[in-house]
């Protein structure tokens, strides 16, 4: 069955696949997770704030992002961001935005919606007595969040946040719709150039599978360790 397959194509394209492709994928995953966590935490704080309007706005944002398919958001952003940029800066032409910037902004905004729900659950899991004790010591709301509530929420939610990041790692492959050479995009380019579709897509699947599996295993180990500490 494997007679007419040439797996040497993988060996020949390894540097391109991993240095360029996987490098891009990991960078996009890392930066999106970081940005998503920062914005997600801000959205979570807005949702939990006592200002109704702020909570409503944050809630709408989360619902909106979560009810759109990711591919659609990627597309939309890629074509819309130049025009939004033009509108914001008042330039005469649409602003040129690179595919990387565009996809990074998309993923941060998209992931922020998901991370915000995780952080919201994390913040709500902290007993009311903790912020009360912080307040009683004279800490301001911001200090209480920064030093008491968020570190605990983050630690409690770390396994869930990392699991979401693994999903994000897989989702970044959707940038192929913008013809960006992420790992899948790079594999796909080689596949089409050399006519080795089966080999390359098998290999790409294997790589995603192995990385995700190992990462999930790591998360489970971490979860067990956190459970003991608590």
């Amino acid at each position: 069955m494997f007679d007419n397959l040439d797996f040497d194509v993988i060996r020949r394209s390894l540097p391109y696949l991993f240095l360029d492709g996987m490098g891009f994928t990991l960078m996009l995953t890392g930066l999106s997770a970081l940005g998503g966590l920062v914005f997600g935490t801000m959205i979570a704080l807005m949702r939990l704030s006592s200002y109704r309007l702020m909570g409503r706005i944050a809630g709408l944002y989360v619902d909106f992002m979560r009810s759109l398919p990711l591919v659609l958001v990627i597309f939309w952003f890629y074509f819309l961001v130049p025009y939004i940029g033009q509108w914001l800066t008042g330039a005469s032409r649409p602003i040129r935005v690179g595919a990387f910037t565009s996809s990074l902004v998309t993923f941060i905004m998209f992931e922020a919606a998901y991370f915000s729900e995780i952080m919201r659950a994390g913040i709500q899991s902290i007993s009311k007595g903790q912020p009360a004790a912080a307040s009683a010591l004279g800490l301001t709301y911001a200090q209480s969040m920064r030093y008491i509530v968020l570190p605990q929420a983050f630690r409690n939610m770390l396994p869930v946040l990392l699991t979401q990041t693994i999903v994000l790692f897989q989702d970044t492959s959707l940038v192929y719709v913008l013809s960006i050479p992420d790992f899948l995009g790079a594999a796909s380019k080689v596949a089409q150039r050399d006519g080795r579709l089966v080999e390359m897509y098998l290999f790409a699947a294997l790589v995603y599978f192995v990385i995700s599996c190992v990462a999930s295993y790591g998360v489970r180990r971490l979860q067990a360790r956190i459970a003991i500490v608590r």
């Binding site: 903790q130 004790a133 912080a134 307040s135 010591l137 004279g138 800490l139 030093y147 570190p151 630690r155």
Partner: protein
């Protein structure tokens, strides 16, 4: 030091938890607040440092009106220590870090100063060896002593205790009460919600008895234990002293 006058508080539109509460705690005085559960005593003490809002009346703390929207609450709270029923140590911080955090972030003390103060207070409550442990590694009694030390680290002008021994196993109650008795003897102004009548009879100046959100009795210790005027206080005392 603490002036509570005509405080009314409602949860929702109909349920009134505090009814026209008026009392005061003078400098150096130890006042014990007791009463059946649900009588509003914890709520009252939490109103003193504005952890709980109230709708009517006023509380004046060291000359500053607590329920004035212009009051800088964090600054005011930093000057009053509070000890909670469930300790509320910060579980992600070591014991010594629990003692240093607010000193550094609120009072602006240097790390060295805060550490020195923290170590001194840990020694005082007999927990020097536990300094680098996490709260979960300590017993309930030890945690509550740390919580008292954490509050004292801010050099408070008064201390509020909200049922400090209610969540403790019986054999750990005395180690916490000992620390509180010492504090009282040093002249600390204290408002203590507790059922520990032994503590009350030992160090309290006055005892306040609350029931259904009202201050039913506010009497000198000797009068209270000698002959409480109200029937409800008599019943309460006979119930908790009979066993």
């Amino acid at each position: 030091m603490i002036e509570i006058s005509h405080v009314n508080k409602w949860y929702g539109p109909t349920f009134q938890v505090l009814k026209d509460c008026t009392t005061s705690v003078a400098k150096g005085e130890v006042v014990v607040v007791c009463g059946p559960s649900g009588s509003g005593k914890s709520t009252l003490i939490k109103c003193v440092n504005a952890l709980e809002p109230f709708q009517e009346g006023q509380i004046i703390l060291d000359g500053i009106k607590v329920n004035d929207p212009k009051t800088d609450l964090p600054k005011l709270r930093a000057r009053v220590g509070m000890v909670f029923q469930h300790f509320e140590l910060f579980p992600h911080l070591r014991i010594i870090e629990n003692l240093c955090l607010a000193q550094e972030k609120v009072l602006g003390r240097s790390h060295g100063e805060a550490m020195a103060k923290g170590e001194k207070l840990l020694e005082r409550v007999g927990l020097t060896v536990q300094a680098n442990k996490y709260p979960a590694e300590l017993s309930g009694g030890q945690q509550q002593r740390v919580a008292i030390a954490r509050a004292l680290a801010m050099d408070p002008i008064a201390m509020l205790f909200d049922e400090p021994t209610s969540a403790l196993d019986p054999e750990m109650i005395s180690e916490v009460l000992d620390v509180m008795v010492d504090l009282a003897h040093e002249g600390m102004t204290m408002m203590v919600v507790t059922h520990e009548m032994g503590f009350a009879s030992k160090v309290a100046n006055r005892v306040i008895f609350m029931d259904k959100g009202e201050i039913v009795e506010d009497a000198l210790k000797t009068d209270f234990f000698g002959s409480p005027r109200s029937e409800r206080a008599q019943q309460f005392l006979s119930k908790i002293l009979s066993h």
